[in-house]
Symmetry: C2
Subunit: 194 residues, 2 copies
Amino acid sequence: MTETTAKAERPPRLSADDWAQGALDLIAEQGVNAVAVEPLARRLGVTKGSFYWHFPSREALLKAALERWEQMEQELVFGSLEAISDPRERLRQLFRLVAHEVKPHIIYSEMLKALDHPVVQPVMGRVSGRRLDYLTASFRQAGMGRTDAQQRARLTYAAYVGFLQLSLQLQQPRLHHDEFEAYVDHVMATLIPA
Amino acid sequence: MTETTAKAERPPRLSADDWAQGALDLIAEQGVNAVAVEPLARRLGVTKGSFYWHFPSREALLKAALERWEQMEQELVFGSLEAISDPRERLRQLFRLVAHEVKPHIIYSEMLKALDHPVVQPVMGRVSGRRLDYLTASFRQAGMGRTDAQQRARLTYAAYVGFLQLSLQLQQPRLHHDEFEAYVDHVMATLIPA
DNA sequence: ACCTGAACACCGTTCAAGT
DNA sequence: ACCTGAACACCGTTCAAGT
């Protein structure tokens, strides 16, 4: 009677995806280095030995988790900005979106803090490369020459990454709301071509 | 006969400074996370047990090593730029110096990659805070208003940190010499007031 | 004053055995 | 197909004992 064809009261058996999502949750909460097999197993209610049925190593788990994130983040960029046709307006909208959405930056910030890890680096390289290309194309469409657009894209993306880094470094004197808005305006005025 | 008052043929006994310098060397060579008590002890030719006579923990060793670096790096900034009186010329010189000196960025880059570590964060906060203040003062002296100077300093330092980050992330398509020079020119033209 | 050597805890990894 | 439990290696930490 405990066994029906309907999948109802199975014991909590886990899939590789469950482990990957658990790792991603841990990254968002406590950073990349908090992803450890034994604590994660405890959290999921199994013993650490069972982990090795799903993944060959901790590195492989991290890789799966980060690639899961990479896919999600790529879908986000697709949907949100393609609607705006005017290139300079699209850039302004991009700056505002980046400035005011918090959640998408959490995992990215955690990865910034853990760039030491060999699994993190290539994922970041791919994501940042794509974003740089998108920025370069946008500056071109806004009327800049090829070289100028490339350099401006690099400077702009460096400003973005650097701002996140500074926020991580100087946790005390974080900008207050009005100062932050003024800073975003300053950045837009300085970096978006007239 | 083996014991003279002259300090000649002692066995290689170590001081706390020796351990701190060894840790700093390891950071420059292999990153913050490579600082481990047992490997460092092997490298220094002693057993790991002896480490705990000098430091209470691995964290304390890291702290000592990073504060050693912080002091050195502060002396560097002092000496190199105070001679130039024209503020805009001093800014240009600062950009060029930062762009062309390699060594001082090595430890800084390793710390960027390990910002996850609680010992790294406050050191980075102090160093970056000082540099931000210096930049703000320079932009003020170059004629900008208080708020503008602060924001421009933040943007400029973010561009610096972000450029280092990008170099760490995209290790493949590093800029070639001429491209890099052109990029530095672009950054100076965009960020230094006319 | 500085070091050794043995001990313990914690986590990554392996694997035979269970369901 | 997924999990347990015991084992081993590696590193952080402690400490009694050596010089």
